[in-house]
Symmetry: C2
Subunit: 239 residues, 2 copies
């Protein structure tokens, strides 16, 4: 596919421990697909410095854009900003522009801009801040990596800020057809269809529910007329 590629790095123990179920990845996947950007890989790592650094470097080298979520709050386990700085060999410290944002916010709310909160103003040199309309503490962009919060409401707001700045591809269109037969009966004709329509992506997603079984066939591509043709052909095969 010629569409731009993206990867996501989820940072933190809460998904790996089974404590929470992912929401950000699912949200980002949907938004990128709408914009014609291919989410090609996701990695989830814990709050471990070297793991984060290694993953950021690997994904940044390989894909056009990388999104990270998690680990940019004020607590001792929030080490993402320092890891990103290390990954790109940038200096990091409390930066004036970020501190000013926080200072104004906490002055308004009557809270103290203490040492812990000041950690959220640690921004690598040369990074561009990402606006946080929910709770002010900014994300930031270094090179092709967008560093965002893990709290879903903040993550979603930051994604909404970043997405219009990215060059999308042709929007990915899709149609699906449910076929109430076993995948084993569908697979042969489906492989032939995939050969004929090599420009489209044809996926088979089997289901089993209450004793019924079958498969949802999803045909994806950028040419709506080709998808129409393929779906019609598929429907005829199993009419």
């Amino acid at each position: 596919m010629a569409n731009p590629t993206a990867a996501m790095l989820v940072i933190g123990d809460e998904i790996l421990s089974g404590r929470t179920r992912d929401a950000n990845m699912h949200f980002l996947a949907g938004e990128l697909t709408k914009q014609g950007i291919t989410l090609a890989e996701v990695r989830i790592v814990g709050d471990e410095r070297q793991d984060i650094i290694d993953a950021v470097r690997a994904l940044s080298d390989r894909y056009d854009t990388v999104f990270t979520s998690g680990g940019i709050g004020p607590t001792h386990d929030d080490i993402t900003a320092d890891c990103i700085a290390a990954a790109f060999e940038r200096h990091i410290d409390v930066r004036d522009d970020a501190r000013d944002l926080l200072a104004a916010h906490y002055k308004n709310t009557g809270s103290d801009l203490n040492e812990a909160r000041l950690r959220m103003a640690r921004i690598p040199d040369g990074a561009a801040l990402i606006d946080n309309p929910v709770s002010v503490a900014p994300g930031f962009t270094v090179d092709n990596v967008h560093v965002m919060a893990g709290v879903p409401s903040v993550f979603q707001a930051m994604v909404a800020t970043i997405l219009p700045t990215l060059t999308g591809g042709a929007p990915l269109l899709s149609q699906s057809l449910r076929i109430d037969r076993g995948e084993g009966d569908i697979a042969g004709p489906l492989a032939d269809l995939a050969d004929t329509y090599a420009d489209l992506s044809i996926g088979s997603y089997p289901f089993q529910k209450n004793g019924a079984y079958g498969s949802n066939i999803v045909i994806r591509g950028t040419d709506g007329a080709r998808i129409d043709a393929a779906i019609s052909e598929l429907a005829e095969m199993f009419a």
Copy 2:
């Protein structure tokens, strides 16, 4: 942590495209945590041969156990078994034991064991089969990698077969305390607590809901008495 480590590799486009939301990862994470095995990393890749091979090798080298899900059905995009064989440089073909399982099953159900279904009997040399009580087509284990189906009911059944064969660590215990203050107010005392209880893992998971905000503090470890002590100390700090 001295507990055994595990990684998961999710194979397939459906989560990356945003079409489905992950369920298997969340299930596995919970099961491993109960058994005292640390899920240290998750990767999600699409149906791309080299990506799958590279990820399997990287995770198998690094962690004690690897679980994969997806891509072992009968359709043209099910390439996991061949990728696993390539990753471990094993020969792969239709194997008699797997074919016999499928033949008996499809004879019973009156379906044809056609060429597509026979793909599900392709098993790398030396692999041990994993029982599939739901739909018969087996998973398999090569080296430290357990290769399982992506359909959640089948995935869960296969995990139930594998788990008792793994050496677990001391079960991970946890307690949590909800504190209705901003993370910035909690972070300083929390860092001190983390220093005092360096044998425990202390995580802070902020929330914002209907205008209220605060943080759930989760303290994890293998020594229940230590966790009790840390939670009591935490509760006193913010009483």
